[in-house]
Structure formats: structure tokens, C-alpha cells
Symmetry: C2
Subunit: 288 residues, 2 copies
């Protein structure tokens, strides 16, 4: 049971966490924090939070659990603002979708990595933003990755794990580096391809006509290109190393595929497409 | 009104055309043709066709409208098999998703491009195949592109246009070359990226784990990688020129994007993502 949860950044991710914990009866009080008054008033009105402050230090005072749900580019400032204001028994965790940069930011802001900080990443979300888009079941049956470090207190990890499990999520642990590799492959790289493709088409002559003939597959394929540009800029910069390496390797493979097509090597094409279809079908079966 | 429609290849595309024309009361008799007895019996049972033959020459005899809905790799053989068996007033059209190769196949099979042949492409489909997947409303409000040539009889074009309009489709005309460019950009290229991405991930170490952490965006992005591998091999070979050129250019752009990420050039990233999001949002608004 969490006595007081401070949610820094009451958007889709932080708001849904608060709603889920309330619904599970696992939190007594929720304090919101953010810059926009309107969003926080809305959060109050919706019953997502009990009160709020625009000041991070004030918001975390007395909280035994602090969740930081702000864009990656704002993490460091938030950590620095809470330094010296945390309760004795406070645990701090976050929802950032790259972990290496958050760990670096925390170490710099706190002057060394605190034992009570547990880096985390719930693999969930929609294209919508803000507290109005939040809902209590967002994390149900979704995965949450925690990336504790040698410095991290196992008791803090256990409390963060229990929090996410109370929301219905499945929690796993892995290293920071492995997390950033896996996410580069499964999320960041696909987003780059979708943004890149839509941008390439938008820059073509007669692009209106081109979009007009796009079929259903294109719509699905490019849905993620409607995601928040600022958030994705931050993710690219936060996970630059793994992502740029993977994107560059993928570009080489696409060059090879273009050659295979130009050569008309049907056997090789069939091999690639069959392997991909089998993997995709296994993936979907795995989702049950 | 079509007196007798011959559908060569009674699958999703051909079957849906027959169903739509029947429902519109625009066809008197439908003759199916294909290699698989089971699928044709099913088509009979479902009332999609009135009778069938495994012989193309027999199936087209007396038909005033012939629709060829077979994979691109089978087009030439079908055209060759109907030569000398077509009725005086027959119009032949097809549903192939690349047009340059179909036009070449027709010219070779018929010994010159016949005035009664109207190359066509309905921009519609699902991941499912076979006559059981067909339905009468597949073409409603969807686009059909016709690519008539200087040799094509305008009267034949008008009859094919009327047929598709009776199915609720919006018909437009463009050149063969332009069609193949537009489709390379909006359909063939996205499919290559989806197949390529899933294949790249499947070849990674610990690929089971990688797929396990893939989120909803990945599912949508890669849905088209579950498409028929043989069909896509045929499409790549049929549209090799435009597709390999576009894929190669896109790979170059992804190399540049990887460099931009590695350099940490946030302003440039934001510019790309904002342009893409705006174009994607305009596209979705346009679908209205």
C-alpha cells in the first residue's frame, strides 16, 4: 500500500498509473505536479489526483513513492528539483522509454546514483496525450521493464515491482544496455521508418496524389508517424547510440534488398518474405 | 449490364467483384475458372459463380467481360490460354498490382496489345485469401486505377469503368508508369520495410525476447509482413525498376537519419518528425 504517491507529469502514463492504483485500492493519496495548470485542474476534476503543486520539491514532500512521467528531455531538471526534498522512505521511479540517458541524468542530478532510484519503463501507451486520455486498465497484461543497477536497493525494486503488479502489469528486469537495445529494435526503429517513409512521400512531387492512392496497409504502417515529434526527438537523442547503429544496419539491409529486387532474384525474395511472415505469425500467436 | 462475366482466379479480388456485380444486378451469368477444384466448388456453393471450368479457353467463351484475378506471375499464361477463344465483343481487364509487367505479358501473349484489353488495379484487399474471404462491399468507396494505352479502345475503357462504378468504386485513369511509381511508394515500399524489419528482428540473437517486448505500434507496423510471400515476390519482380530505385533512395535517407541521430541534431530530427506527422494527419483527415 502506497501512503502518498507523487506523480510528476500527470499525462497518459502518470495519470493511468494513479487511476490503476486507486482502482486497486493500493494508494491513499495522490499528489500531482506539472507546469500546466489546466491539465492539473482537469486531473483533480477527474479524481486522478487529490491535490497538486507546480513545485517538484513541494509535490514530493512526504511521498513514499515518486513516479516521474515527464519527457526524457525534462528528466534531469525534475530529478535536480526533488533533491533534498524526498522523504526518508521515498522510492523514485520513472517511465522513460530509454534508460541509459535517464540513469545518466539521475546520477548527475543527485550527485551519484541513489539506492532508492529504480529506472523503469512501462511498455504501454496510445497516440493520445494528457490526463484526459489516461485510463485505469492501460497497464493490464502489459509489460513493465525495470533496469536496476548495482547501486539500487533491492527493497526499492520490490516496492516498484509491487506497484506495477497492482496495476495488472507483468514486471521483468534487465540491464539498462539490454533494454535500450531491445527498445531500439522493437519501437524506436519502426518509428524512424514510419516517420521517414511519410516524410519521403510528403516531399515527393504530386504528394497529394500519392497519399490519395495509399491503401489500408499504409494507414496501419504509418499510424505511429502521428506520434508526438518532441517526444520522439528526445527518444532519438536519449537512445542515439543503439538506435543510430541499428538504423544504419537496417539501411544497409534495405540496400541489399533493393539489389536483390533489381537482379530479380525471386528465390532470395521468397526466402526473406517467408521468414518474415513466419516470425510475424509466431509473434501474433504469442500474443494469444 | 454484363451478359456473361468470366472470372479467371476466383479469390478475394475476383470473388468480391462477382459478388458486387450480382448484388448490383449488373451481371446475368458468372463463369469461374481456376486450377483448384475445391475453391471453385466453394464459389459455386456460395453463389459467387454459376458454373466453372478449369480451362481458360472454355471459361471465356461467349463472355463479354473477362476479369483476370490471378497472381502477377500467372498473368501471361492466362492471356496466352484465352487467345483465340474470346467473343467478338469481349473486353479483358485485370486486377494486378503492378501494371508495366501485365502490359508486357499481354503484348507478348496476344502478339501485340489488343484494343479490348484494359489494364486495371483495384486498390483494395485484406490479408485473407480465397473465395471464402470475398465480400460484395470490398470495393465500395475504394479506388480503382485504370491504365489504358494508346492502343486501347475508349469504348472498352468505358465498359470497365462502368463495371467498377457499379461496385461502388471510384475510378481514375493514369499512365502505366505513373501507376507503378505511385504504388511503389504507397504500397510496395512499405511492404518491403515491414518484411525487412520483421526479418531483421527474427535474425537477431534472443529474437524471442525481442518480439516479447514489442508493443502495439509494432503490431500495426508489421501487420503487412503477414501478407502472402509468393504474391509479394511476384510484385517485386513485376515492379522491380520503380521499387528497387525507391527502396535504394529510402535506404540512403535512413543512412542520413542515422547520422543525424548519431550527431544528436535535435532540430533536424524535430523538423522531419513534424513534417511527417503533419502529412500523416492530413492524410487521415483526407480519408474523412
Amino acid at each position: 500500500m502506497i501512503r502518498r504517491l507523487a506523480v510528476i507529469g500527470v499525462g497518459l502514463i502518470g495519470g493511468s498509473l494513479a487511476r490503476a492504483l486507486r482502482e486497486a485500492g493500493e494508494v491513499e493519496e495522490v499528489v500531482g505536479c506539472g507546469r500546466g495548470r489546466e491539465n492539473l485542474e482537469k486531473a483533480l476534476e477527474l479524481g486522478v489526483i487529490d491535490r497538486y503543486s507546480h513545485d517538484v520539491g513541494e509535490a514530493v514532500a512526504g511521498a513514499d513513492m515518486v513516479f516521474v512521467g515527464v519527457p526524457l528531455g525534462a528528466m534531469k531538471g525534475v530529478f535536480a528539483a526533488m533533491r533534498g526534498h524526498l522523504a526518508e522512505d521515498a522510492v523514485v521511479t520513472d517511465g522513460g522509454s530509454a534508460k541509459g540517458s535517464v540513469v545518466r541524468d539521475a546520477a548527475e542530478a543527485f550527485g551519484g546514483l541513489p539506492a532508492y532510484f529504480v529506472p523503469g519503463h512501462p511498455i504501454a501507451g496510445t497516440e493520445r496525450n494528457g490526463v484526459e486520455a489516461s485510463f485505469a486498465t492501460l497497464y493490464r497484461n502489459r509489460r513493465v521493464i525495470l533496469t536496476p543497477l548495482p547501486e539500487t536497493d533491492p527493497e526499492a525494486v520490490a516496492r516498484v515491482r509491487a506497484m506495477w503488479e497492482a496495476c495488472g502489469a507483468e514486471v521483468t528486469e534487465m540491464s539498462v544496455e539490454h533494454h535500450d537495445e531491445v527498445l531500439a529494435a522493437t519501437s524506436h526503429l519502426p518509428h524512424m521508418l514510419a516517420f521517414g517513409l511519410v516524410d519521403a512521400l510528403a516531399r515527393m512531387k504530386e504528394n497529394d496524389e500519392i497519399f490519395r492512392y495509399a491503401a489500408g496497409g499504409f494507414r496501419d504502417f504509418t499510424r505511429i508517424a502521428s506520434s508526438n515529434p518532441v517526444m520522439w526527438r528526445d527518444i532519438c537523442i536519449a537512445n542515439a547510440e543503439a538506435l543510430s547503429r541499428m538504423l544504419s544496419a537496417f539501411a544497409d539491409e534495405m540496400k541489399d534488398l533493393a539489389d536483390t529486387i533489381a537482379r530479380g532474384d525471386g528465390d532470395h525474395l521468397l526466402e526473406i518474405f517467408e521468414r518474415a511472415k513466419a516470425a510475424r505469425d509466431r509473434y501474433i500467436d504469442g500474443l494469444g
